[in-house]
């Protein structure tokens, strides 16, 4: 795809480089903000680490020694550059509370979140695109109203609340609850699916709603274009007009949005993962914030920042791939 793009537009390499360079200040800003935030938010690392009993038993000198051991007594700029330096050299550090390194910890949990986000993105297409298309093509019909009602409904209902209801519903009606620990896809695909399918559907419903509305709006706009009228006047069947001319053009903003959705689902699945007991990156973030495990939070937020940055670049490149008229100068 990249070769095709470069062939189309020789300046794409420069564009890509420029976009990546623009990302650097963004990433630096993320590191600074999360570093500062983790040091001003309330919470007590010592209590989270030792419990109230032990903290009350520690002498002030012992407390100081522990903070020294964790590297939290150094000046802030030393702590910051030590962390950033570690990230640059590939050493994400070690969680205060775990025997795992942060890299191992993320590698263990990330597959669950990625699977959920991927499945939810695919499902959001499967649900959102047909609903939007039908709504547009059957404008002001019962199907359109139902579709629009449902899209507004799922836009309005918070996903985490729906997730909590779903847990209760499955427990009470089907006596079903998913495994409370990570089962990787390669260990047991079915058990893995049992963990990810419900959060994926919940997230997909939330993501499909704006997708359907966007699809409806763009199809309606495209259907009123001159080239559609021309196609019709040539005697083409409605299905052909829609599939060959309308969808191809209408899907462009939808694809852009899908990229954003994937990033959003990856980073925004925290509450749904928590509510449904799926042990992905979301749970790591919540637990790490609670425990004030600053090194985990810093690295995770940085990871989310990187994902968002690269998704934005990838979406821009996808534009060019889908629309030959777009040139990067």
């Amino acid at each position: 795809m990249l070769r095709r793009l470069i062939n189309r537009s020789p300046t794409i390499g420069k564009y890509l480089l420029r976009r990546l360079l623009y990302s650097v200040p963004t990433i630096i800003a993320i590191t600074v903000i999360i570093f500062i935030v983790m040091r001003v938010v309330p919470g007590d690392l010592l209590t989270a680490f030792y419990g109230t009993d032990e903290v009350s038993a520690l002498t002030p000198k012992q407390r100081e020694a522990i903070m020294d051991q964790l590297g939290l007594s150094d000046p802030l700029y030393v702590q910051y550059f030590r962390w950033v330096g570690g990230v640059v050299t590939g050493d994400l550090g070690k969680s205060f509370f775990r025997t795992m390194t942060v890299a191992e910890y993320l590698a263990h949990r990330a597959p669950i979140s990625i699977e959920i986000a991927l499945l939810a993105t695919v499902l959001s297409w499967v649900i959102g695109i047909p609903v939007g298309l039908i709504s547009a093509l059957r404008r002001n019909s019962i199907l359109d109203y139902v579709g629009r009602f449902l899209t507004i409904f799922f836009l309005a209902v918070p996903s985490f609340w729906l997730a909590m209801l779903t847990v209760v519903f499955f427990v009470l009606v089907f006596n079903y609850h998913s495994a409370p620990y990570v089962i990787q896809l390669w260990e047991d695909p079915l058990a893995n699916l049992s963990i990810i399918w419900r959060p994926s559907i919940i997230l997909a419903l939330g993501a499909a709603a704006p997708l359907a509305r966007m699809m409806r709006a763009t199809v309606l706009e495209v259907m009123s274009e001159d080239y559609i009228r021309t196609a019709r006047s040539k005697g083409l069947a409605q299905a052909t007009v829609v599939s060959r001319h309308a969808i191809r053009n209408a899907i462009l903003p939808t694809v852009t949005y899908s990229g954003i959705i994937f990033g959003f689902l990856l980073g925004g699945s925290v509450a749904v993962e928590q509510a449904m007991g799926a042990r992905g990156l979301g749970e790591i973030l919540v637990v790490a914030i609670t425990e004030r495990d600053v090194i985990v939070v810093q690295n995770l937020v940085l990871l989310y920042g990187l994902i968002w940055t690269f998704i934005n670049v990838a979406v821009d490149l996808t534009y060019a791939w889908l629309d030959p008229r777009i040139r990067y100068e």
Partner: protein, 591 residues
Amino acid sequence: MLKLPRLLVFCMIASLAIFAVACGSDEEESTSSPAPATGAAAVAAEPTPTPPTATANEAKIGEQAADLLKAPEANAKSGGTLDYAWVAKPPHYDMHQSGTTNNCTPQCPLFDLLVMNDPLDFDRAIINGGLAESWESNSDGTEWTFALRQGVKFHDGSDFDSADALATYNRIIFPSENVNSRRQGLFTAVESITAPDANTIKFNMSRGVSGGYFLQALASGFNVIVSEDTLKERNDDLKESPDYPGTGPFKYTGHVDGEKWESEKFVDYWNTNLPYLDGVNVYHMSGSAGAQQRVAGLLTGQFDYARGIDPQSYYEWVQDAPEGIVPVRFPQTTIIAMWYNTFTDGSIFKDAEVRKATNMLFDRDSFVTATKDTRPFFAGFGFSPYFSQYALPIDEGRKRPGMAPTGPEKDAEIAKANEMLAAAGIAEETPVRVLHTNNGWQKVMGDITAAQVDASPHFKVSQEEVEYSIWIEKTEEGDFDISMGPLVYAFADPSAYARPWYHSEGKTNFSKIGDDKTDSLIDQIDAELDPAKRLALTQELDLHLDTYMPLSPLLWEDFVDGYQSYIKGYDFPGMQGLYNAERRGTWWFDK
């Protein structure tokens, strides 16, 4: 024109239908059973925990059980793996350096203690087994000698002997610089430990200590026996070693950080009666979302036992439990208390009458009501936990200063408190700074405390909310007028909390009030060997504290759990002091 509204109506009906289907099961539940009680009603309907009367139990204190531990039921059978839903993961793996049940829950079953509480004894008074087969003290309690069991094996196949017990207790009582031994303070009387032979260990004391206290201190569930070789091999550092071998009824088989902890039956366990279960898996689920997962897992049969369910489910289940589920409430070893600054120049709380009056301003019942849906508490009185055999009976406790129930009686008590403040010369709107912790329910407690003090015309309150460790620091430094927060104690014995909390040199005597009579009584309680006399001294101290009110006990923390009714072999309703008895060796499945 009519088309749109009609369709909208259709859509609304359709969506309502969807909701009706989704909520159908709830509807059926509520019509086929009594409506769930509100939190307050449920609390009212719940049987009040009744502590044992002290006189009935004093004879048992320190008593040795006659037989090896086993399940109390005659039909106990083996088999099955316990799936146990727990809260957070261990912060590290060194039991001697830990004071949190996040360690004890997964790790305690892997180890034995020198002596241990009988898990089937509600009072935690009887000592049953452990790696000491028998013990004796000299007449004045200055020498304690333990005969060790023979033929005991560690999980790695090595043999246990006195060198291991000696290494363990030297680490606990005389730790190296790198070890923060959390229970070192329980053994201040121990001067030295020796191992005269391979099967004997002896504690030499600087002063006489009672068996009631010393045996309980040894029986703290964290004082696990580890081998001398383990400590040498791992350079005295067990914080990052989840797999160091014990001699307990279950053997570590693996864990995933923050998710689960697995252990299996130790087939060479010295007590051939135990364990009944083939294994124990502990699952970690923290936070409020974790509570939902624990309840969901319990209801679907995914878990056999769920620790720390949400109180609302508990109240509902007390009224009408789902089939096969048993709710249980039991006391934790945590006190929520109020300390007064008596050591800063000009502090109004130097005056005992002011402290006594302020204590009477607190409406304990309103604290209980305010937090009942997030954390259950029991209104606090006296200095012994309400469930302890040393506590005064609840009816008597409720008559003590500050314990009047909400309503006219409390109003009268508050009016009297204000009269006392006026008599003590406290001007109207005297500034008082209330320091408290900022964590969840503790913040709520702090807000209520401040509001109740502020309601007095004599006080004008300002609040300061801080992290727990900062709260400890500020409280130790005296940077407060009134300080409210939680303190955990090792076990429910007066020597475990009287000395640190009330002795003039006590580490957590945050009010820093010295009192000769109190110090003398504490010394006597620590040394008294006769259980009946020790009980009398304890109750004398309890009443003496009312005369100068060094701190105000507000609440004792409770916990609520749920479990499948087929779990047998344990005294669930009487469960207390999680640290000391929860080893699951006697648990079995009746299914």
